[in-house]
């Protein structure tokens, strides 16, 4: 008999799960108490969710209006525009109809009764259908359409008093529509009263206010019960900083699907697999801690305080929390996949995330790998792993903690690349931007040192020396190419030293590491000068302000990068192990890609 799945609720989460499971050959029954959802309005779909929906065929015939920019204004800070969103706006009811049509096509049976003999039970009944766990995590969301025009998504936080640790921020979003209609949504957490008339603004309302409960109180423990799994809003999977629930609804549905497909005949195993996957997928937003409310408030204070800081640490931090993206490698260019690296890099990620997730969920968000593209992103741990293959074999997983340490230390170093003209806020209270820079930096660097001391004690001195060198270079305002050279040189050198005793090989690998750092920085300059998004999310002005620019012009930076790239190729030819040479070159190619893209001269 085909194992059966019973899904309660046919909103986005329930429908996506039902369709995906039925297509995998499972018998799926859905019961839906078609509650009155009020007037339709637009929904923001983020990039990964859009990709998932597209691959399922959900977007066919749907009006998908791409949005690539989001303007964020936190508290009273100056607005900042994040680009490269890759998302879209779609109509809520149209999305729902398409999903329901796909359910019918896939053979999902709509039933009205209780499950009979189903193996797996998925609950997707939406927010407000389970007891709330905390007043801080529940609230209401309001949506209304207006006559008006907007070019981009606007996200605005509103809070009456930043200094009251118990006051919760509210988030207002404006979604650009078409035909002169835009949608405004407001998410209010905590128990304070809200007057929907506030949604009036300068625009003429088109539709009525649509309101519903919102629940951000996710924890993996609450998402799995004795014989069920919860997905989407009922699991409390709403981003507390933006009110976005659709992305998490679809993501959790797909996690449930994968867990059930892996354990078709064993619901208990499927539930525990689901619980585990949730724990790593949603790291950072929702850590269960005695300090949860204060921590939430802290994250928000940092977001607000650093809203005008355009350094890589805070820009990446904002994107990680407000958008579904981690630091995700320092480049969008991907290396060719080499499967032998996957176990090592997966272990690296696990160590890095588990080292910080309980104390600093905010930082864990930065480290969370957004795709399952392990082994492809350009990141320092990959350089380290590539250097480890100088042994002739795959990287030794025993050194994964050192790789994690390198990632943590790189992030810590980015935190310390502070701007020249930071001014503390007026009046009393903590300077959150400054405090976070110092605390997060110290925390990341000391955790990194601890990992090295435990996994490779012989490297402790070299590791401390590396940090000392980076600090001294920063203090003396050493040229930025040298700083980034040193940043990338260490992972390469230490990897080679752990892998081989041949000093000539170590020297070559170290030089390649240094070249990669230089090329990375030159590539940043080139991207910024071309007006494109840089990998560190810096603008040309921001780079100059922080002294992290080569200060070469566009043409000179391109030339210098191409020249370094050529020297890297020559150096790699001296490495005896072909795979090691290939991996290092792949890394170098990805780092230099902004300059060399498309005009590659083949060796």
């Amino acid at each position: 008999m085909t194992p059966g799945v019973f899904v309660v609720g046919a909103g986005p989460a329930g429908s996506v799960a039902a369709v995906a499971l039925a297509r995998q050959g499972l018998t799926v029954q859905v019961v839906d108490h078609d509650a009155d959802r009020g007037e339709s309005h637009d929904l923001l779909v983020n990039a990964p969710t859009l990709a998932t929906l597209d691959s399922m065929g959900v977007l066919t015939g749907l009006r998908v209006r791409p949005v690539d920019e989001m303007e964020i204004q936190l508290g009273r800070a100056r607005p900042r525009v994040l680009s490269g969103l890759g998302g879209a706006v779609v109509d809520r009811d149209q999305l729902r109809w398409n999903l329901h049509a796909l359910m019918a096509d896939a053979g999902v049976e709509r039933v009205s009764g209780l499950p009979k003999g189903s193996c797996h039970l998925i609950i997707a009944t939406g927010a407000g259908t389970r007891p709330s766990t905390s007043v801080y995590s529940t609230g209401r969301t309001y949506a209304r359409t207006f006559a008006g025009h907007a070019d981009r998504v606007v996200l605005r936080s509103v809070t009456p008093n930043a200094d009251d640790p118990r006051q919760m921020p509210s988030f207002l979003r404006v979604l650009p529509g078409d035909d002169g209609v835009l949608t405004v949504t407001l998410t209010v957490l905590g128990d304070h009263e809200f007057d929907p008339a506030m949604l009036a603004g300068p625009f003429e309302p088109v539709g009525p206010v649509v309101s519903g409960p919102v629940d951000t109180g996710f924890s993996p423990d609450l998402a799995v019960g004795p014989d069920w799994m919860r997905i989407g809003d009922v699991a409390g999977l709403v981003n507390p900083f933006t009110g976005d629930g659709l992305g998490h609804a679809v993501e959790s549905a797909m996690l449930a699907v994968r867990s059930i497909v892996d354990h078709k005949a064993d619901p208990a195993a499927a539930r525990s697999a689901y619980r585990r996957r949730l724990g790593s997928a949603f790291v950072g937003y929702f850590e269960t801690a005695r300090h949860a409310a204060r921590r939430y408030h802290l994250a928000w204070r940092i977001l607000e305080s650093a809203a005008e800081d355009d350094g890589p640490f805070f820009v990446k931090g904002h994107r990680a929390i407000l958008l579904p993206e981690g630091i995700g490698g320092l480049a969008t260019e991907r290396m060719p996949r080499d499967w032998s690296m996957v176990p090592f890099l997966t272990a690296c990620d696990e160590v890095a995330v588990s080292t910080v997730r309980h104390e600093w969920p905010f930082l864990a968000r930065l480290l969370a790998d957004e795709g399952s593209g392990a082994g492809q992103q350009v990141r320092p741990a990959l350089l380290f792993a590539s250097a480890l293959t100088a042994s002739g074999g795959p990287p030794d997983v025993g050194y994964a903690p050192v790789g994690a340490a390198i990632e943590l230390a790189t992030l810590g170093t980015l935190a310390f690349l502070s701007p020249s003209g930071h001014r503390p806020p007026p009046g009393r209270g903590i300077d959150w931007t400054m405090a976070t820079t110092v605390l997060a930096g110290d925390f990341l660097l000391s955790q990194a040192s601890r990992l090295v001391a435990a996994a490779a004690p012989d490297c402790s001195w070299a590791f401390a020396e590396w940090l000392a060198e980076l600090t001294a270079m920063r203090a003396t305002r050493a040229p930025a190419t040298a700083l980034f050279g040193a940043l990338f040189e260490f992972p390469a050198r230490i990897g080679a030293q752990l892998a081989t005793t041949d000093p000539a090989v170590v020297r070559v690998v170290r030089d390649i590491g240094h070249h990669c750092g230089e090329m990375f920085l030159l590539g940043e300059d080139v991207l910024a000068l071309r007006g494109e998004r840089t990998r560190l999310d810096l603008t040309a002005a921001g780079m100059a302000d922080r002294g992290i620019s080569s200060t070469l012009g566009l043409a000179a930076a391109e030339l210098s990068c191409a020249d370094t790239h050529r020297r890297t190729r020559e150096a790699a030819a001296k490495i005896p192990h072909l795979r090691c040479a290939r991996l290092l070159l792949g890394f170098a190619d990805a780092v230099a890609a902004p300059v060399t893209n498309g005009k590659e001269d083949q060796p």
């Binding site: 640790p165 009393r428 660097l445 004690p457 000392a468």
Partner: protein, 308 residues
């Protein structure tokens, strides 16, 4: 070895600091020249009596970690004065002070690695705990309902850990057995907690000669043990209102002090501190080595007289 211990620690600190880049060295040197109470190196030396171990290298190491943490603390706390001098970030700017602290942590990492893998492990673990403690400390800013339990957690991680470190390192250097090492570590932690509670009482001292300005923690919304105890019996809410006022400043401190006094905040905090201090001394009774017990008891008592 005729030169006194304290001077040998200073010599080693100066030697270590000479490795620093000159752009940050003066900020570190001035803290070495104004040594403070040197509690941590004293504690360390008290852990190795009669073993023939020279405590100076480790003593310098724990003081260097302390200097690094002071440089960074003063930035976080926006403290204007340190050891009677303008704080480093006031003199040289926040970025330079941040880098000076960072350089000290890195230098401490190198010294630790020279002294063996156990030392590296202990130092980096303590610094990691310290930064978490600091995080817990700032994230509760303006929380007038912070429970004593949560307060004790942050104090344990913020101050307790840095008192525990010298004891852990001392035990390591002396080659102490596991049981002894555990007792020493516990003693250090407990002593640190007691010490921090008393230090919180000092933040409320008015018009007395202390080496840091009064009321800075309150200014930041970080209320210490006496105030937290007083807030629990703040029936009419007047203390809370004063503390949360946006115009709160040094001029409010005498009023806060008398309100905390009226509500029994000092008495409760002092009681708690005494309890933890007594507890630290009781822990020492589990030590079999009488010399060690006596040496630590002496230090534990002397340190206490300084703050009470």
């Amino acid at each position: 070895m005729s030169r006194p211990y304290e001077h040998r620690v200073t010599d080693r600190l100066n030697a270590a600091a000479s490795e620093l880049d000159e752009s940050v060295r003066p900020l570190v040197s001035r803290l070495i020249d104004q040594p403070g109470k040197r509690l941590r190196s004293t504690l360390l030396a008290a852990c190795v009596p009669g073993t023939g171990v020279d405590p100076a290298p480790l003593g310098a190491l724990v003081e260097l970690v302390h200097v690094a943490s002071l440089l960074h603390d003063d930035i976080i706390d926006r403290a204007a004065v340190r050891r009677g001098l303008p704080a480093a970030h006031v003199v040289a700017g926040e970025e330079r002070a941040t880098l000076a602290g960072l350089a000290c942590f890195a230098l401490a990492g190198k010294l630790a690695a020279d002294l063996g893998p156990g030392v590296s492990m202990a130092v980096s673990a303590a610094v990691a705990e310290l930064s978490v403690g600091e995080l817990l400390d700032v994230q509760r800013a303006f929380d007038t309902e912070l429970s004593i339990e949560d307060y004790l957690e942050l104090v344990t991680r913020k101050t307790g850990e840095l008192f525990r470190l010298p004891c852990v390192l001392g035990a390591l250097a002396a080659g102490a057995d596991r049981a002894t090492a555990a007792v020493l570590a516990e003693f250090g932690l407990e002593l640190g907690v007691a010490f921090q509670i008393m230090d919180d009482c000092l933040d409320l001292r008015v018009g007395q000669d202390v080496d840091k300005p009064v009321g800075t923690d309150h200014q930041l919304g970080l209320f210490g043990a006496p105030t937290l105890f007083a807030l629990r019996v703040d029936e009419d809410g007047s203390l809370r209102r004063t503390l949360l006022s946006s115009s709160f400043g040094a001029h409010d401190m005498p009023g806060v002090r008398s309100m905390v006094l009226d509500r029994g905040g000092f008495a409760s905090a002092t009681h708690l501190a005494r309890e933890r201090h007594a507890n630290a001394l009781v822990i020492l009774n589990r030590l079999e080595d009488e010399d060690l017990r006596a040496s630590l008891r002496t230090v534990g008592m002397a340190m206490w007289q300084d703050v009470t």
